[in-house]
């Protein structure tokens, strides 16, 4: 076990993993039953990456996560009810019903921003956050997560170049779940190793098993301290897998891009199962303690859903508010009179 991982921390990480998993499962359930609108992109199977990295980072570091990065809010102790409320389109939600599923903004309080409609678009934004840290002399670093599909976007290349040029405190974390929707990473990415993309710019690229939260934690811990001490950007490539489809609608699409065997094989490495087993095997904690975390989580989830369901819907007449911080009469223009 890593030296910084004491019993408390280990159990805490388990809670993060399990809560994220339960949250995602709940979201899918609520989506199926019509409580949540639109397609959903849960990160089932990929929880360990965000949990490992965020536990290694400080609580005030800036985090930009992808549409499968729900774990980030959970690690930062956000009330899960705020996320549910947002997905229910309620006023109490973290974006007051404006952003919805893929755009959780908890930046002001928790320094976490989930924005991924643009695939790679958040990467330069968080490169900019790192530049801001540097210009303002802040000690924080910026960590940005993106998928293997986003690696083909020009923005990644430009951001990596800029990060290296300004020696920015930023960690690029690739959540390599092997498929950009249906396209295999070997098909779309021409680099022999994904870490070559970073090496091409002359900075470090580390590959790590994305299903093993301890290994991720260890790699992230070291990277965070290097980056914070002015070592410049680092690229972590975490190999992971999503157990579910790209989005919830995939169930009805009848796609054949991966085999059931492949999924089953990856499922044996599920961090939600392997991590507590390891804790018990190594005698760090008892199965009762694991069980009590589970119960705590179930309670939290139930309460959160209740909270969200009882929330208020935003008032229709507020739909045009908050477009601009400095308001002028007549803007934004209504589309009708």
């Amino acid at each position: 076990m890593h030296k910084d991982l004491n019993k408390n921390k280990c159990l805490q990480m388990y809670k993060h993993l399990y809560l994220t998993r339960r949250y995602c499962e709940m979201v899918v359930e609520l989506g199926d039953t019509g409580f949540i609108r639109g397609p959903l992109h849960p990160g089932l199977g990929m929880e360990a990456v965000v949990v490992g990295v965020l536990n290694a980072a400080e609580n005030d570091d800036f985090i930009g996560v992808s549409h499968r990065g729900q774990a980030a809010s959970i690690v930062r102790n956000v009330n899960v009810g705020l996320l549910f409320a947002e997905q229910f389109g309620k006023l109490e939600g973290c974006n007051h019903g404006r952003g919805g599923t893929m755009h959780f903004n908890l930046f002001n309080e928790k320094r976490v921003f989930e924005l991924d409609s643009e695939v790679a678009g958040k990467v330069p934004i968080f490169t900019g956050v790192a530049l801001g840290c540097k210009l303002k002399g802040l000690k924080q670093i910026s960590v940005v997560f993106y998928g293997d599909g986003a690696m083909s976007e020009g923005w990644i290349y430009e951001s990596m170049n800029m990060a290296k040029k300004f020696n920015l405190p930023v960690i690029f974390v690739v959540e390599n779940n092997r498929y950009a929707v249906t396209t295999k990473v070997e098909y779309s990415c021409s680099a022999k190793n994904l870490t070559d993309r970073a090496k091409a710019f002359g900075f470090e690229g580390i590959e790590v098993d994305g299903m093993d939260v301890e290994k991720i934690y260890a790699v992230a811990k070291e990277s965070v301290s290097k980056v914070r001490n002015g070592g410049g950007p680092i690229n972590i490539v975490a190999n992971t897998y999503r157990f579910c489809g790209h989005f919830t609608a995939e169930k009805i699409l009848n796609l054949h891009y991966r085999s059931q065997e492949e999924i089953a094989e990856w499922e044996t490495r599920d961090p939600i199962a392997t991590w507590p087993q390891k804790l018990i095997d190594e005698g760090i904690c008892s199965s009762e303690e694991i069980q009590s975390v589970k119960e705590m989580v179930e309670k939290e989830i139930t309460e959160a859903v209740e909270f969200a369901k009882s929330g208020k819907l935003p008032k229709p007449e507020d739909a045009l508010k908050d477009m601009y911080a400095t308001q002028y009469p007549g803007s934004p223009r209504k589309g009708w009179f």
Binding site: I36, P39, G89, M102, T183, H246, Y257, P316, G335
Partner: protein
Amino acid sequence: MREIRYLQAVAEALNNEMKISDEVLVMGEDVRESLRGVTKGLYTTYGKDRVIDFPISEQGMIGCGIGSAISGFRPVIEFQINEFTFFAFEQLILQSQRLRFYSGGKIKIPLTYIVPGSGARGGISGQHSDNPYSFLIEGGMKVVIPSCAYDAKGLLISAIRDNDPVAVFLPTRVLAEKGEVPEEQYTVPLGKADIKKTGSDITVVATGHCVNIALEVARKLEEEKISVEVFDPRTLFPFDKETLKESISKTGKVVIIDDSPVSCGFGCEVSALIGEEYFNLIKAPVKIVARADVPIPFSEPLEEVVLPNSAKLENAIRELMGRTNA
């Protein structure tokens, strides 16, 4: 005649064009598996050389399309998400649209862009719900937006056979609708509007799924003896002025309903056109019912406010009719 869904009509048109001509290629993201349903089954029929999946690199993909179009192919590029047009905006406008012009008319770029599922899809929020056609119109690109299955098949075929870049927008809200579609290949000419319903009191210019809204409102108002003419431009650019002129000279009143942001949008262009050329035919203000100038919010009650809908259209029509009646 048989009835099929809008999306099936699109897929059929594409499939047949690929069958007829080896020059037609399909490019896009996840087009082999066909996430959007437009390219379903094409990969197994035509193979990897004609149905090409791209990495998520929109600029590179459009560039690749331009190059192969100049070399004699007719690529059909699918944008999986409407906002992806923004990523490749430079390639779309400055290159694909302008290369022919700046080469002095020496080259042809027969490209077709398909944007399946444009517009709000319900619960997909601000960055996946745009209808970016006004941007392309301003850039000078030909834009079509079929409103029913019949038009979809005919217009897509025309678009593919056209020798310039044409953007085809397929609004989410009509994709599942059924309509009569002939089995054989036929074309609906670009630049020709269609009167979806004739009427004598007021002209409603409606685009894409708004045509259905307009028809619904028209039927409702019929009971109140307001006769609404529903004008579907089908091709937004080049716009069919003549047919509009005929309609206006009959009715003298216009409401435009269009699902893109109002400022500098397509609605403004039609209104300005009327104000400039048909001012004397008009007897009342030209009203626009369009999206408000904000991104689409996630929450349902908010989304309803931002988007054009039948209630807003009805209000606008009533106001215009009332004003002149008074």
